[in-house]
C-alpha cells in the first residue's frame, strides 16, 4: 500500500461559522493590561491566583506553627488563628483553585484546544478578570480593616459568623461576603464564555467527541459552577443583609452577653443547605478540570491513547449530574431525617463508581505505555496515588455512622486536603510544567522540577497521613490549642510538631518552584513548538508563544481525536489532530475515475 500526497479540497467543507473579528490592540496597555486576548487573560488570572495562593500558603504555615509548637509564637492568638484558618480555606478553594483551573487554564487552553481564534465574547472575558481582581483586592483589604478578616471558618456558618466574639464579625465578614458576590459575578461572565466557546467556536472537524479531555473537564466544571455559584451568591447576600440591616434570614433568636439580640426565628440550617448546595459541586468544579488535564498529561507522556475515551466522557457527565444531589452529606451532624441521611449516603457512594472508573482508566493508560518520566508525568502519577488515598477516606466519611464520630476532627482535614487540595494542586503543577513551554517558549528547568516534585509529593504525605491518626484519637479541627484533654496522649503533640516541620519544608520548596518560573522565563532551554510531541491543537500553532489570533492565516482543520499516539505504521509516535489522513493509491484512483 503506497501513500500519496492528499488533496484537501476533496473533502473539506467551507467553514460554516464566519471568521470572528478580532480586537487589535495598538498599545502595550491594550495588549497586556486591558487585554481582550484569552491567552493574556488566562495568564493574568493565573498570576493573580498564584499570588493570592501564596498568601494562603503563608497562613497555613502560621497555623501549623501554632499547632506544632503551641505558646511559642506570641503573635498568634486564638482569634487571629481562626482568621488564618478561615482565610486559608476560602482563598485556596475559591480564589486559587477555582480561579486558576477555570479562569487560568480555561482561558488559555479552551480557544487553543478547540481551534478558535479567541473566546466568543472577548470584551466580557476581559471584564471577568477585572471583576475577579477586584474581588481579590476586597478580600485582601479585609486583613486591614478594624477587627480584621473574618474568623468564622471557611463555611461561614451563621449565627456565629456575624456575632460579636467571632473575629471580624463586622467589617471582615462583610468584605468576605461582598468579595464572594463579586467573584461570582466575574466568574459568571467568564463561564458564559467558556461554555459558548466550546459549543460554538470549535473549528471544522472538531466534534465534541474529538475534544481533548481537558476541555471536557473544564466545560462540565463550568456548567456546574454556573448552576451552583448562585447558591453561594444567595447565601452571601442574605447573610450580608442579616449583618447590615438586621433581617433574620439565618439568625435565630439569641441572647448574647445577657442581651436579647434583635434577631428572631431565622434558620442557620437554611444557610447550611444553601452553602453546601454550592459547596459540594464546588468539589467537582475543582476536580473535573483536574481529571481532564491529568488524562491528557498521562496520555501524552505515556505515548499511548487514553484508555476508554468515551467512558471517560461518560464518567465526567455522571459525576457532574450526581454532584448536585449529595450536598447534605456535609450536614449529617446538623441532624436530619434518617431517610435523608440514607439517601445522601447512597448517592455519595454511587458517585464513587464513575470516579473509580476514571482511576482505572488512568492506570490502564499507563499499562504497557512508553512512559516518559518527565516532570508533568511525575505529578500526574503523584495525583493518582493521592487521589486514591483521599477518595478512600471519602468512602468512610460518606457513611452517616462513620461520619458522626469523625466529623470535625483532623481526619476530615486529612481527607479533604488529600482529595481536593493536594490532588488538584499536583495536577496544577503538572499542567504548568506541561504548558509553560507553550506560554513562554522555554522549558522549565528539569532538575529543579524533579526536586520540587519529590519534596512536594512525599512532603504532603508526611503532613496528611499522620492527621488521619490524630483524627482517630479525636483531635478536633480548628482548635487553637488542645489542652487538658485526657483522651489525647502526649505523643499526639510530637506528631503535630512533625507535621509542622514537614509543612515548612513543603512550603519553602514552593519558593524554588516560583524561582524556576522566573528563572526559566529568561534562561530556560528554548522549547520549540511541540517539545512533548503532543497531538492537540495548541501545540500545532505557527508561533510559540501563540500570537493574537492563535493560528495564523488559516484555522486548523481537525481530522482525528486527540489521542493518536504510537499508531502502528505511522511515521512518528504521534499524529497531530490537524494532520490530514494519508490517502492510499486506490483512493486516488477512485477519486479520479
Amino acid at each position: 500500500m503506497s501513500y500519496v500526497a492528499h488533496d484537501e479540497s476533496v473533502f473539506v467543507r467551507p467553514a460554516e461559522v464566519g471568521e470572528m473579528e478580532l480586537y487589535h490592540p495598538k498599545t502595550f496597555i491594550g495588549k497586556y493590561i486591558w487585554s481582550q486576548d484569552a491567552k493574556v487573560i488566562g495568564v493574568q488570572y493565573s498570576i493573580t491566583a498564584i499570588a493570592v495562593g501564596l498568601v494562603a500558603l503563608v497562613l497555613s504555615g502560621i497555623m501549623r506553627l501554632q499547632l506544632g509548637f503551641p505558646h511559642v509564637f506570641s503573635f498568634i492568638n486564638p482569634s487571629n488563628y481562626l482568621q488564618f484558618v478561615t482565610m486559608h480555606g476560602m482563598i485556596m478553594v475559591v480564589y486559587l483553585l477555582t480561579a486558576l483551573f477555570l479562569g487560568g487554564f480555561g482561558n488559555y487552553l479552551i480557544p487553543l484546544m478547540v481551534g478558535a481564534r479567541d473566546m466568543v465574547f472577548p470584551y466580557v472575558n476581559m471584564i471577568s478578570y477585572w471583576v475577579y481582581l477586584f474581588a481579590v483586592l476586597l478580600l485582601m483589604a479585609s486583613f486591614f480593616v478594624p477587627g480584621g478578616s473574618t474568623g468564622a471558618g471557611w463555611t461561614l456558618y451563621p449565627p456565629q459568623a456575624i456575632l460579636d466574639g467571632t473575629p471580624g464579625a463586622n467589617w471582615g465578614i462583610i468584605l468576605m461576603l461582598v468579595s464572594l458576590a463579586f467573584f461570582i459575578i466575574g466568574f459568571t461572565m467568564g463561564g458564559l464564555n467558556y461554555v459558548v466557546t466550546v459549543l460554538q467556536a470549535r473549528t471544522r472537524g472538531m466534534t465534541m467527541m474529538r475534544l481533548p479531555l481537558t476541555v471536557w473537564g473544564i466545560f462540565m466544571a463550568t456548567i456546574l459552577a454556573l448552576l451552583a455559584f448562585p447558591a453561594l451568591f444567595v447565601s452571601a447576600i442574605m447573610m450580608a443583609l442579616d449583618q447590615m440591616l438586621g433581617t433574620s434570614f439565618f439568625m435565630p433568636a439569641l441572647i448574647s452577653k445577657g442581651q436579647h439580640l434583635d434577631y428572631n426565628g431565622g434558620s442557620p440550617v437554611l444557610f447550611q443547605h444553601l452553602f453546601w448546595f454550592f459547596g459540594h459541586p464546588e468539589v467537582y468544579i475543582v476536580a473535573l478540570p483536574a481529571f481532564g488535564i491529568v488524562s491528557d498529561l498521562i496520555s501524552v507522556h505515556a505515548r499511548k491513547n487514553i484508555f476508554g475515551y468515551r467512558m471517560m466522557v461518560w464518567a465526567i457527565l455522571a459525576i457532574g449530574g450526581l454532584s448536585f444531589i449529595v450536598w447534605a452529606h456535609h450536614m449529617y451532624v446538623s441532624g436530619m431525617n434518617p431517610y435523608f441521611g440514607f439517601f445522601f449516603a447512597t448517592t455519595t457512594l454511587i458517585i464513587a463508581v464513575p470516579t473509580a472508573l476514571k482511576v482505572y482508566n488512568w492506570v490502564l493508560t499507563l499499562w504497557r505505555g512508553d512512559i516518559r518520566f518527565n516532570v508533568p508525568m511525575l505529578f500526574a502519577i503523584g495525583f493518582i496515588f493521592t487521589f486514591i488515598n483521599g477518595g478512600l477516606t471519602g468512602l468512610f466519611l460518606g457513611n452517616v455512622t462513620v461520619d458522626l464520630p469523625l466529623s470535625d476532627t483532623m481526619f476530615v482535614v486529612a481527607h479533604f486536603h488529600m482529595v481536593m487540595a493536594v490532588s488538584p494542586i499536583l495536577v496544577i503543577f503538572g499542567a504548568i510544567y506541561h504548558w509553560y513551554p507553550k506560554v513562554t517558549g522555554r522549558m522549565l528547568d528539569d532538575t529543579m522540577g524533579k526536586f520540587h516534585f519529590w519534596v512536594t509529593f512525599l512532603g504532603t504525605y508526611a503532613i496528611y497521613y499522620p492527621m488521619h491518626y490524630l483524627g482517630f484519637l479525636g483531635v478536633p479541627r480548628r482548635y487553637y490549642a488542645v489542652t487538658g484533654t485526657d483522651f489525647i496522649p502526649e505523643s499526639a503533640q510530637s506528631l503535630n510538631a512533625g507535621i509542622t516541620v514537614a509543612t515548612l519544608v513543603v512550603g519553602s520548596v514552593q519558593l524554588l518552584f516560583l524561582f524556576n518560573l522566573v528563572w526559566s522565563y529568561f534562561r530556560g532551554r528554548p522549547s520549540g513548538d511541540n517539545p512533548w510531541g503532543a497531538t492537540t491543537l495548541e501545540w500545532q500553532t505557527p508561533h510559540t508563544p501563540p500570537k493574537h489570533g492563535n493560528f495564523g492565516a488559516e484555522l486548523p482543520v481537525v481530522y482525528r481525536w486527540a489521542y493518536d499516539y504510537s499508531v502502528p505504521g505511522a511515521e512518528k509516535d504521534f499524529i497531530p489532530q490537524n494532520q490530514p489522513p494519508a490517502r492510499t493509491a486506490e483512493d486516488a484512483v477512485d477519486a479520479t475515475s
Binding site: Q200, M206, N264, V313, F324, Y559
Partner: protein, 240 residues
C-alpha cells in the same frame, strides 16, 4: 430545597442528555476517512449571543429557584407573618405584561424590517419597563409608610429581596435595551439591531415569567399571623 432540585435536576438532565447524544454512535478513535465529509462545525446553528443568553437564563433560573426555596423553608418558622400582597402589584404586573407585549410586537416588526414600528415598539417596551420599576418602588414606599419594614418580619424581608433581585435583572435588560435603542436612533439599519431586539424580547418574556412565578408565590403563601404576642416573648424571642 425541593424547588431548586425541581429546577436544577431537569436542567442538568437536559445538559447531560444532549451531551450524551454527542457520544452515541461515534467512534472517536477513527480518523477522518478520505472522501467522508467533515462533520460540521456549528453543532447548534444559532448565533453565539443567543446561546450565551440561554446559558445566562439558566444561571438566573437557578438563582431565583434558590431564593424561592429559601422562602419556602423560612416560611415554616414560627415568627413568620405573611405579608398581605399590596394591591399595587396587580397594576405593576399589568404594566410588565404590556411591556412584554410591546417587545413582542417590536420583534415581529424587526423581522419584517419595519423600522418605524421597531422604534415605536422599543420605546414603548422600555418606557413600560421603567414604569414597572417605578411602580415597584412606589409599592416599596407604601409598605414602608405602613410600617412594613425590612427587619420587622422575614416575609417583608423576602418581599424586598425578591423584588429587588428581579428589578436589578430588569435594569440589566434595560441597559442592553438602551444600547440597542441608541444604535437605532443613530441611524443603524433594522438588520443590525434585529438580533438584539429578538434577544431583548426573549429576556423580557423570561423576566415576566419569573415575576409571575414570584407574584404567584406571594399570593399563594398561606396567611399566618406571628404567634408571638408580647406575653410569649420568652418562647419566641425578643419583641420588636
Amino acid at each position: 430545597m425541593t424547588i431548586i432540585l425541581l429546577v436544577v435536576v431537569p436542567i442538568m438532565a437536559a445538559v447531560v442528555w444532549w451531551l450524551l447524544r454527542q457520544t452515541m454512535n461515534v467512534r472517536p478513535w477513527t480518523e477522518q476517512r478520505p472522501g467522508d465529509a467533515l462533520p460540521g462545525d456549528g453543532v447548534l446553528s444559532l448565533p453565539p449571543v443567543t446561546i450565551g443568553l440561554g446559558v445566562f437564563l439558566a444561571v438566573a433560573t437557578s438563582l431565583f429557584a434558590l431564593l424561592i426555596s429559601a422562602y419556602n423553608m423560612r416560611m415554616e418558622a414560627a415568627d413568620w407573618t405573611t405579608l398581605a400582597v399590596p394591591k399595587g402589584l396587580w397594576v405593576t404586573t399589568g404594566v410588565l405584561v404590556l411591556s412584554s407585549i410591546a417587545m413582542q410586537w417590536t420583534r415581529s416588526a424587526a423581522i419584517r424590517g419595519r423600522i418605524d414600528r421597531v422604534r415605536m415598539g422599543l420605546i414603548a417596551g422600555g418606557v413600560l419597563a421603567f414604569g414597572f420599576l417605578a411602580g415597584q418602588l412606589l409599592v416599596w414606599q407604601q409598605l414602608h409608610a405602613s410600617s412594613h419594614f425590612v427587619t420587622s418580619n422575614p416575609a417583608n424581608a423576602f418581599f424586598y429581596l425578591l423584588t429587588a433581585v428581579h428589578g436589578l435583572h430588569l435594569l440589566g435588560g434595560l441597559w442592553v435595551w438602551g444600547k440597542t435603542t441608541a444604535k437605532l436612533f443613530r441611524g443603524a439599519a433594522v438588520g443590525r439591531v434585529r438580533l438584539s431586539v429578538e434577544l431583548c424580547t426573549v429576556y423580557w418574556h423570561y423576566l415576566l415569567l419569573v415575576w409571575l412565578a414570584l407574584f404567584a408565590l406571594l399570593l399563594s403563601t398561606p396567611p399566618r399571623q406571628n404567634a408571638c404576642t408580647p406575653d410569649a416573648v420568652a418562647i419566641c424571642g425578643s419583641p420588636r
